[in-house]
Symmetry: C2
Subunit: 130 residues, 2 copies
Amino acid sequence: MNPLFHELFQKSRFLTNVLNLSLKEHDLYASQWSVLFCVKKHEEMSLTQIWKYLNVEAPTITRTVNRLVELGWIDILPGVDRREKIVKLSERALHKFPEVEKTMIEFERNMSENLTKEEEILLLKLLKKM
Amino acid sequence: MNPLFHELFQKSRFLTNVLNLSLKEHDLYASQWSVLFCVKKHEEMSLTQIWKYLNVEAPTITRTVNRLVELGWIDILPGVDRREKIVKLSERALHKFPEVEKTMIEFERNMSENLTKEEEILLLKLLKKM
DNA sequence: AAAATATATTTACCTAAGTAAGTATATTTT
DNA sequence: AAAATATACTTACTTAGGTAAATATATTTT
Protein backbone atom coordinates (compact mmCIF):
# COMPACT_ATOMS: atom_id res chain seq x y z
CA MET A 1 0.00 0.00 0.00
CA ASN A 2 1.10 3.51 -0.68
CA PRO A 3 2.91 4.74 2.44
CA LEU A 4 2.19 8.38 1.57
CA PHE A 5 -1.34 8.30 2.93
CA HIS A 6 -0.39 6.29 5.98
CA GLU A 7 2.32 8.83 6.79
CA LEU A 8 0.01 11.77 6.23
CA PHE A 9 -2.67 10.34 8.55
CA GLN A 10 -0.07 9.47 11.18
CA LYS A 11 1.53 12.91 11.08
CA SER A 12 -1.83 14.60 11.30
CA ARG A 13 -2.78 12.54 14.35
CA PHE A 14 0.60 13.11 15.94
CA LEU A 15 0.45 16.88 15.41
CA THR A 16 -3.09 17.06 16.77
CA ASN A 17 -1.97 15.24 19.90
CA VAL A 18 1.04 17.48 20.42
CA LEU A 19 -1.08 20.56 19.79
CA ASN A 20 -3.72 19.47 22.28
CA LEU A 21 -0.97 18.95 24.82
CA SER A 22 0.42 22.44 24.16
CA LEU A 23 -3.00 24.07 24.41
CA LYS A 24 -3.81 22.25 27.65
CA GLU A 25 -2.12 25.06 29.55
CA HIS A 26 -4.94 27.32 28.35
CA ASP A 27 -7.65 24.68 28.80
CA LEU A 28 -8.27 24.57 25.08
CA TYR A 29 -8.39 21.90 22.40
CA ALA A 30 -7.02 22.25 18.89
CA SER A 31 -10.42 22.47 17.25
CA GLN A 32 -11.55 25.09 19.76
CA TRP A 33 -8.49 27.14 18.93
CA SER A 34 -9.22 26.95 15.22
CA VAL A 35 -12.68 28.44 15.85
CA LEU A 36 -11.33 31.16 18.15
CA PHE A 37 -8.67 31.98 15.60
CA CYS A 38 -11.01 32.53 12.70
CA VAL A 39 -13.61 34.37 14.77
CA LYS A 40 -10.90 36.71 16.05
CA LYS A 41 -9.69 37.28 12.52
CA HIS A 42 -13.14 38.18 11.19
CA GLU A 43 -14.28 39.86 14.44
CA GLU A 44 -17.83 38.59 13.95
CA MET A 45 -18.99 35.47 12.16
CA SER A 46 -22.13 33.42 11.69
CA LEU A 47 -21.88 29.67 12.29
CA THR A 48 -22.23 29.09 8.56
CA GLN A 49 -19.33 31.40 7.83
CA ILE A 50 -17.24 29.48 10.36
CA TRP A 51 -17.89 25.99 9.04
CA LYS A 52 -17.41 27.11 5.44
CA TYR A 53 -14.14 28.80 6.38
CA LEU A 54 -12.85 25.77 8.30
CA ASN A 55 -14.15 23.27 5.77
CA VAL A 56 -16.09 21.15 8.22
CA GLU A 57 -19.79 20.32 8.54
CA ALA A 58 -22.28 22.50 10.36
CA PRO A 59 -22.92 20.19 13.36
CA THR A 60 -19.23 20.20 14.21
CA ILE A 61 -19.33 23.98 14.60
CA THR A 62 -22.59 23.97 16.53
CA ARG A 63 -20.93 21.71 19.07
CA THR A 64 -17.59 23.49 19.31
CA VAL A 65 -19.18 26.94 19.52
CA ASN A 66 -21.61 25.77 22.22
CA ARG A 67 -18.69 24.45 24.25
CA LEU A 68 -16.76 27.71 23.78
CA VAL A 69 -19.81 29.68 24.93
CA GLU A 70 -20.07 27.45 28.02
CA LEU A 71 -16.37 27.99 28.70
CA GLY A 72 -16.77 31.76 28.33
CA TRP A 73 -14.56 32.22 25.26
CA ILE A 74 -17.33 33.26 22.92
CA ASP A 75 -20.42 35.50 23.06
CA ILE A 76 -23.48 35.15 20.88
CA LEU A 77 -25.05 38.21 19.25
CA PRO A 78 -28.50 37.84 17.75
CA GLY A 79 -28.38 38.51 14.02
CA VAL A 80 -30.90 40.47 12.01
CA ASP A 81 -31.85 37.23 10.30
CA ARG A 82 -33.34 35.35 13.20
CA ARG A 83 -32.22 32.00 11.83
CA GLU A 84 -28.57 32.79 12.23
CA LYS A 85 -26.26 33.02 15.19
CA ILE A 86 -23.57 35.67 15.10
CA VAL A 87 -20.59 35.04 17.28
CA LYS A 88 -17.63 37.04 18.62
CA LEU A 89 -14.84 36.61 21.14
CA SER A 90 -15.69 37.48 24.75
CA GLU A 91 -13.77 40.16 26.64
CA ARG A 92 -11.92 37.44 28.53
CA ALA A 93 -11.03 35.67 25.29
CA LEU A 94 -9.69 38.86 23.74
CA HIS A 95 -7.59 39.35 26.84
CA LYS A 96 -6.20 35.81 26.83
CA PHE A 97 -5.78 35.57 23.07
CA PRO A 98 -2.19 36.86 22.82
CA GLU A 99 -0.93 34.28 25.31
CA VAL A 100 -2.61 31.43 23.44
CA GLU A 101 -1.24 32.80 20.20
CA LYS A 102 2.24 32.72 21.71
CA THR A 103 1.77 29.04 22.55
CA MET A 104 0.63 28.38 18.99
CA ILE A 105 3.62 30.13 17.46
CA GLU A 106 5.89 28.14 19.75
CA PHE A 107 4.16 24.91 18.72
CA GLU A 108 4.53 25.73 15.04
CA ARG A 109 8.16 26.61 15.47
CA ASN A 110 8.89 23.35 17.27
CA MET A 111 7.01 21.22 14.80
CA SER A 112 8.70 22.68 11.75
CA GLU A 113 12.21 23.03 13.11
CA ASN A 114 13.37 19.95 11.19
CA LEU A 115 12.48 21.64 7.92
CA THR A 116 14.26 24.51 6.23
CA LYS A 117 12.11 27.41 5.13
CA GLU A 118 12.35 26.16 1.54
CA GLU A 119 11.27 22.66 2.51
CA GLU A 120 8.36 24.09 4.44
CA ILE A 121 7.17 26.04 1.41
CA LEU A 122 7.65 23.02 -0.81
CA LEU A 123 5.73 20.76 1.56
CA LEU A 124 2.82 23.19 1.66
CA LYS A 125 2.86 23.42 -2.13
CA LEU A 126 2.82 19.64 -2.55
CA LEU A 127 0.02 19.19 -0.03
CA LYS A 128 -2.06 21.76 -1.85
CA LYS A 129 -1.33 20.21 -5.21
CA MET A 130 -2.36 16.74 -4.07
CA MET B 1 -0.60 31.48 11.60
CA ASN B 2 1.45 28.96 9.69
CA PRO B 3 -0.77 27.61 6.90
CA LEU B 4 1.25 24.40 6.68
CA PHE B 5 -0.49 22.79 9.64
CA HIS B 6 -3.90 24.00 8.60
CA GLU B 7 -3.39 22.50 5.15
CA LEU B 8 -2.12 19.22 6.55
CA PHE B 9 -5.11 18.83 8.88
CA GLN B 10 -7.52 19.77 6.08
CA LYS B 11 -5.99 17.34 3.64
CA SER B 12 -6.02 14.56 6.19
CA ARG B 13 -9.70 15.14 6.91
CA PHE B 14 -10.51 15.38 3.23
CA LEU B 15 -8.69 12.14 2.40
CA THR B 16 -10.34 10.31 5.30
CA ASN B 17 -13.75 11.38 4.03
CA VAL B 18 -13.02 10.33 0.45
CA LEU B 19 -11.59 7.02 1.67
CA ASN B 20 -14.64 6.31 3.82
CA LEU B 21 -16.82 7.00 0.80
CA SER B 22 -14.76 4.61 -1.34
CA LEU B 23 -14.85 1.86 1.29
CA LYS B 24 -18.59 2.21 1.77
CA GLU B 25 -19.11 -0.24 -1.10
CA HIS B 26 -17.52 -2.91 1.15
CA ASP B 27 -19.27 -1.68 4.32
CA LEU B 28 -15.96 -0.69 5.84
CA TYR B 29 -14.48 2.44 7.40
CA ALA B 30 -10.93 3.66 6.87
CA SER B 31 -9.78 2.73 10.37
CA GLN B 32 -11.28 -0.75 10.02
CA TRP B 33 -9.37 -1.22 6.81
CA SER B 34 -6.11 -0.20 8.44
CA VAL B 35 -6.60 -2.94 11.04
CA LEU B 36 -7.55 -5.55 8.44
CA PHE B 37 -4.53 -4.55 6.36
CA CYS B 38 -1.95 -5.01 9.08
CA VAL B 39 -3.53 -8.19 10.43
CA LYS B 40 -3.51 -9.67 6.92
CA LYS B 41 0.11 -8.68 6.51
CA HIS B 42 1.21 -10.33 9.76
CA GLU B 43 -1.31 -13.20 9.53
CA GLU B 44 -1.77 -13.21 13.31
CA MET B 45 -1.43 -10.31 15.73
CA SER B 46 -2.16 -9.49 19.35
CA LEU B 47 -4.05 -6.28 20.07
CA THR B 48 -0.88 -4.75 21.49
CA GLN B 49 1.01 -5.54 18.31
CA ILE B 50 -1.75 -3.85 16.31
CA TRP B 51 -1.89 -0.60 18.26
CA LYS B 52 1.89 -0.34 18.37
CA TYR B 53 2.07 -0.94 14.62
CA LEU B 54 -0.64 1.61 13.85
CA ASN B 55 0.62 4.12 16.40
CA VAL B 56 -2.66 4.56 18.21
CA GLU B 57 -3.75 3.88 21.78
CA ALA B 58 -4.98 0.50 23.00
CA PRO B 59 -8.65 1.43 23.52
CA THR B 60 -8.95 2.49 19.90
CA ILE B 61 -7.95 -1.00 18.81
CA THR B 62 -10.15 -2.76 21.35
CA ARG B 63 -13.10 -0.93 19.84
CA THR B 64 -12.23 -1.38 16.17
CA VAL B 65 -11.37 -5.06 16.59
CA ASN B 66 -14.59 -5.71 18.50
CA ARG B 67 -16.57 -4.12 15.70
CA LEU B 68 -14.70 -6.16 13.08
CA VAL B 69 -15.42 -9.35 15.04
CA GLU B 70 -19.11 -8.41 15.17
CA LEU B 71 -19.07 -7.75 11.43
CA GLY B 72 -17.39 -11.10 10.77
CA TRP B 73 -14.12 -9.81 9.36
CA ILE B 74 -11.92 -11.02 12.19
CA ASP B 75 -11.62 -14.15 14.35
CA ILE B 76 -10.15 -14.28 17.81
CA LEU B 77 -7.73 -17.06 18.79
CA PRO B 78 -6.97 -17.51 22.46
CA GLY B 79 -3.27 -16.90 23.08
CA VAL B 80 -1.01 -18.94 25.35
CA ASP B 81 -0.78 -15.88 27.59
CA ARG B 82 -4.37 -15.64 28.78
CA ARG B 83 -4.18 -11.87 29.04
CA GLU B 84 -3.73 -11.41 25.36
CA LYS B 85 -6.08 -11.67 22.41
CA ILE B 86 -4.66 -13.03 19.18
CA VAL B 87 -6.51 -12.06 16.06
CA LYS B 88 -6.62 -13.16 12.42
CA LEU B 89 -8.74 -12.53 9.33
CA SER B 90 -11.86 -14.69 8.98
CA GLU B 91 -12.35 -16.92 5.95
CA ARG B 92 -14.86 -14.45 4.59
CA ALA B 93 -12.41 -11.57 5.09
CA LEU B 94 -9.64 -13.44 3.27
CA HIS B 95 -12.05 -14.06 0.45
CA LYS B 96 -13.17 -10.44 0.20
CA PHE B 97 -9.76 -8.92 0.82
CA PRO B 98 -8.58 -8.68 -2.83
CA GLU B 99 -11.67 -6.70 -3.84
CA VAL B 100 -11.19 -4.23 -1.00
CA GLU B 101 -7.53 -3.98 -1.88
CA LYS B 102 -8.53 -3.10 -5.43
CA THR B 103 -10.70 -0.27 -4.11
CA MET B 104 -7.80 0.98 -2.01
CA ILE B 105 -5.37 0.96 -4.92
CA GLU B 106 -7.94 2.84 -7.00
CA PHE B 107 -8.35 5.39 -4.19
CA GLU B 108 -4.62 5.89 -3.88
CA ARG B 109 -4.25 6.29 -7.62
CA ASN B 110 -7.01 8.90 -7.75
CA MET B 111 -5.72 10.85 -4.78
CA SER B 112 -2.16 11.07 -6.03
CA GLU B 113 -2.85 11.63 -9.71
CA ASN B 114 -2.05 15.33 -9.42
CA LEU B 115 1.47 14.50 -8.30
CA THR B 116 4.31 13.11 -10.38
CA LYS B 117 6.09 10.07 -8.98
CA GLU B 118 8.99 12.33 -7.96
CA GLU B 119 6.69 14.76 -6.16
CA GLU B 120 5.05 11.87 -4.36
CA ILE B 121 8.40 10.62 -3.10
CA LEU B 122 9.42 14.12 -2.12
CA LEU B 123 6.17 14.73 -0.26
CA LEU B 124 6.58 11.50 1.69
CA LYS B 125 10.16 12.42 2.51
CA LEU B 126 9.19 15.89 3.76
CA LEU B 127 6.34 14.53 5.88
CA LYS B 128 8.69 12.03 7.46
CA LYS B 129 11.31 14.68 8.06
CA MET B 130 8.88 17.03 9.78
C1' DA C 1 -51.53 35.93 0.65
C1' DA C 2 -50.62 31.02 0.57
C1' DA C 3 -47.65 27.46 -0.85
C1' DA C 4 -43.25 25.97 -2.05
C1' DT C 5 -38.51 26.32 -1.58
C1' DA C 6 -34.25 27.69 0.50
C1' DT C 7 -31.18 28.63 4.34
C1' DA C 8 -29.33 28.37 9.25
C1' DT C 9 -28.95 25.77 12.94
C1' DT C 10 -29.82 21.74 15.77
C1' DT C 11 -30.61 16.89 17.10
C1' DA C 12 -29.73 12.05 16.94
C1' DC C 13 -26.70 8.69 15.90
C1' DC C 14 -22.31 6.86 13.97
C1' DT C 15 -16.93 6.27 13.56
C1' DA C 16 -12.25 7.71 15.39
C1' DA C 17 -9.12 9.11 18.56
C1' DG C 18 -7.51 10.45 23.25
C1' DT C 19 -6.77 9.95 28.74
C1' DA C 20 -7.43 7.89 33.22
C1' DA C 21 -8.58 4.26 35.85
C1' DG C 22 -10.05 -0.68 36.41
C1' DT C 23 -9.50 -5.87 35.91
C1' DA C 24 -7.14 -10.07 34.97
C1' DT C 25 -3.17 -12.55 34.28
C1' DA C 26 2.13 -12.98 34.26
C1' DT C 27 6.50 -12.07 35.99
C1' DT C 28 9.77 -10.55 39.27
C1' DT C 29 11.28 -9.55 43.91
C1' DT C 30 11.63 -10.49 48.46
C1' DA D 1 5.18 -18.81 48.52
C1' DA D 2 3.54 -14.15 49.15
C1' DA D 3 3.85 -9.50 47.78
C1' DA D 4 4.94 -6.23 44.44
C1' DT D 5 5.22 -4.97 39.83
C1' DA D 6 4.36 -5.28 34.99
C1' DT D 7 1.59 -6.28 30.96
C1' DA D 8 -2.76 -6.87 28.13
C1' DC D 9 -6.93 -5.52 27.60
C1' DT D 10 -11.32 -3.06 28.86
C1' DT D 11 -14.44 0.56 30.58
C1' DA D 12 -15.97 5.20 31.17
C1' DC D 13 -15.74 9.58 29.65
C1' DT D 14 -14.09 13.41 26.44
C1' DT D 15 -13.14 15.84 21.96
C1' DA D 16 -13.64 15.76 16.75
C1' DG D 17 -15.48 14.58 12.81
C1' DG D 18 -19.29 12.70 9.67
C1' DT D 19 -24.50 11.91 7.70
C1' DA D 20 -29.47 12.24 7.79
C1' DA D 21 -33.35 14.29 9.32
C1' DA D 22 -35.84 17.90 12.07
C1' DT D 23 -36.99 22.75 13.16
C1' DA D 24 -37.35 27.60 12.55
C1' DT D 25 -37.14 31.46 9.84
C1' DA D 26 -36.57 33.80 5.10
C1' DT D 27 -37.33 34.13 0.37
C1' DT D 28 -39.47 33.07 -3.91
C1' DT D 29 -43.28 31.37 -6.74
C1' DT D 30 -47.74 31.04 -7.84
